[in-house]
Symmetry: C2
Subunit: 81 residues, 2 copies
Amino acid sequence: MKAIVNIYLKEGVLDPQGKAVHHALGSLGFREVEDVRVGKQIILKLRDGLSDQEAKEEVEQMCEKLLANTVIEDYDIELVR
Amino acid sequence: MKAIVNIYLKEGVLDPQGKAVHHALGSLGFREVEDVRVGKQIILKLRDGLSDQEAKEEVEQMCEKLLANTVIEDYDIELVR
């Protein structure tokens, strides 16, 4: 089973990396872009035999304790069999 | 319209950041994790009025030219209205 965790800055938190990418895209001539936000995607391979419920709770714990900085970041979790 | 671009290391490319996260999760007692890969998720807000086809081609160009290092990284693009 795999868990895909997307971690992104909360609305309103300044994203300098996104700003830099936006600027660089503009310099390259991509004028259609209005905003850029850069986040992380973490793919966890979990051992087989976990139920969806167990896996979700476990990955939530991982996010709260290590993967995300919940002061400035939000996350969502998707499970894939 | 938004384009969500996921960028991840190709199979077989060593992921030291993933290894570090894996190790840290182990230290915290999360033993169910067998592997960790860390990638990027870039969310692009595009101006309205682009067709799906145009947006896709444009974002592919951005990935090839700037966002992804296609020697070691793959990417996928998802459009959200």
